[in-house]
Point group: C2
């Protein structure tokens, strides 16, 4: 008797892509609300955004729509966090 | 005459995986050095770590070593940031 139900690996893939994409929305809202991103590493944002741009090229080259969509959204969220960080840092030093 | 050199898509994939993994090291060092992660969203870390765990299951199910390695490292870095955040938040409210 087989009691274990085999979950298709795609379910994990889509769940993973959705979670690692929407994860940056709370960070974006928090940064916007607190008007501070001092503790958020600038180098992290630059490396991460560059990596996401490469994922988008990879998704484009390999015709992978899920990779294209997930990484484009993640890039938009992180670019917004980076812009807010630069704006708030520049305001705080005025 | 073909002047454009075709770069293999794998190069972008590996570059993307390396950058989006090592990106969290500067955040980890920054958090450890400043002893503060107040501006880093707790909900982001929880969603991101859960998503990374699903990527690891997906990499395991699809026998993808690059997905397994990249996401395991990213999970270790982000779990460390989460632990530091909890420790520093708990210390600051004492």
């Amino acid at each position: 008797m087989e009691l274990l139900v085999k979950i298709p690996s795609d379910i994990f893939g889509y769940g993973a892509a959705i979670l690692t994409t929407i994860a940056f929305l709370p960070q974006l809202f928090k940064t916007f609300k607190s008007k501070s991103a001092e503790d958020v590493s600038l180098i992290m944002l630059i490396l991460f955004i560059t990596g996401l741009a490469l994922w988008i090229i990879y998704g484009f080259e390999t015709h992978s729509i899920p990779i294209l969509i997930a990484n484009s959204l993640t890039l938009i969220f992180n670019l917004s966090i980076l812009i807010l960080k630069i704006v708030y840092t520049s305001n705080s030093t005025k």
